[in-house]
């Protein structure tokens, strides 16, 4: 029986790495990023939807598309669990098989990406450079632009 400290050492290392990555991201953007403060910045969902209002609004079909694509790629990842369980026994074979699997998934990803299923804004919007927001722009004017 190994001591607990030894068993849980990898977990501690992972926690430290996770904290370091998170701190690095927050700290890095704090040090390097531009600091803008206005009313839009302070809304709960910046450039998102209005948090208060009727829930029976109709959504853009884009939401469904992204949701469906998300479900597919999300569920495919489920095969990683049994794979991870037997990985040690199967060694190189398991690695190569998963590589093939991931390449197939990535080619699907490449397809939807190139087809523009992930482009949130329609083509016409992308060509015109977005106007810089006036500092006092209200949420309503932003929502009306799209």
């Amino acid at each position: 029986m190994r001591p607990y400290t030894e068993i849980y050492f990898p977990v501690v290392v992972q926690i430290i790495i996770a904290i370091a990555v998170a701190a690095g991201m927050v700290g890095g953007s704090f040090l390097l990023g531009k600091k803008v403060r206005n009313r839009v910045k302070d809304t709960p969902y910046e450039s998102g939807m209005q948090p208060v209002g009727s829930a029976r609004e109709r959504f853009s079909v884009k939401f469904y598309l992204v949701a469906m694509i998300f479900i597919l790629f999300d569920i495919e990842a489920m095969f990683l669990y049994p794979w991870a369980v037997v990985y040690r026994e199967l060694k190189l074979f398991a690695f190569v098989e998963m590589l093939v699997f991931v390449v197939l998934i990535l080619s699907g990803f490449f397809y939807i990406w190139k087809k523009g299923a992930l482009d949130w804004a329609p083509e016409s919007d992308k060509k015109t450079e977005p106007k810089p927001l006036p500092a006092e722009a209200s949420i309503a004017t932003i929502l009306n632009r799209h």
Partner: protein
Amino acid sequence: MFANYLPTGAEYFRLLPEMILTAAGTLIMVLEPLTGYRRKRFLGHLALAGLLAALWAAVVAYSSPGPAFNRLIVVDGFATFFRVLVIVVGILTVLSCWDFLARHKAESGEFYSLILFSVVGQCVMVSANELITLFIGLEVSSIATYVLAGYLRDDKRANEAALKYFLLGSFATAFLLYGVAWIYGVTGTTNLVDIRQILESRDVIHPILAVSTAAALMFVGFAFKVSAAPFQIWAPDVYQGAPTPVAAFMSAGPKAAGFAILLRVYLTAFGPIDQSWVPFVWTCALATMVIGNFAALAQNNVKRLLAYSSIAHAGYIMVAVATGTAPGAAAAMFYLAAYAFMNVGAFVVVSHISGRGERKVNIDDLAGLSSRQPLTAALFSVFLLSLIGVPLTGGFFGKFYIFKAAIDSQLYWLTILGLLTSAVAAYYYLRLIVVMYMRPAVDGEEELPPLGGGLKTALWASALGTLALGIFPSAVLNFAGASGAMLVR
């Protein structure tokens, strides 16, 4: 059991057709967004190359028959026969779709990709030796076909066809899966050979009621896939609404694969308990022949007529399944091969004459075809005569072997009924020939476009296949007989 498991090279070799098809389908999918509309035909040629390579692989894979991947897959004569069949149907579909897609300005890589993925699914189905593998193959094939049915997405009828096919198809799959779960629960395995051994062994007590229920639940799923009564209701609407090349594909490929798994599961795994499943196959065969043939009499839309005819043919093949013997299986295999050629051929002709938007699909639109395009009319007649079962065509020997096997198994009522409904069928097929040859073309009818290269190749290949099976049936029949016998070993 799984530790240190490493598949041998021979096992990969046995899976080569599926690997080639998957690689080709994925490659086309990746290339599709990078190809301009005028270059899409190149992707079609790529699909054709992939299918031909897979055909070659399916044939050479038979040089080392045997199981693969922990017996999930088995390459035997039966699997090879159906692999070749579904790949040939894929080739004919790709060849015959070019004119149609160009006419509807709908040529795209997705179409070819989906055809390839559907064929992969069918190849996995027919070589599956295990119920879950079989289920995966069935779903890969079905999901690709659902999309193909609604391929013309601005067409209301195509939408409707896709919706109905999807809803009823997944409903049926759920039944199939519930049956699989019960088999797994009763026997503790999903391997077909192991199930057979467990059901055969006298010392293991298996609840016969649970196994029969499972067999019935799975039959619901299979009957839907092969459009057998009383689960045939989707077929006419789906065949009518789907693009005609897709209808040709659906009526031959998935149906052949569906019958293949039906035969393999019921003869191999459920062979020892045949007294529990033969009655419902018997009833289903009877109902399917009657409903298909009599409903076809009333149709004016040729696609719908062919849909009902396809239901009727499923009924004849069901008679062969009801024998539950090796000769019955061999007859079903031969029939499916003949049926694939003649039915794809007939649908290809319909896709040629249907015109833009598929408006000309009524029987009256065939009027004067013999003078407008003699070759098309002649080839169409060959397919229709074979569908009737006239000697010198594949359809004749198909019916002959099925009814011979049925008589040998003392299924006299089914044989009599099959022969009577075949006579009914002759009426509606001959009606098409009469309209083509006897009725003059309507004045002011716009000229039919000439047969394109791909279309012509597909038509000639189907016609030659139909006639070859009618004139030299013995080679195919001997192979089918030997492979059918392996199922009930």
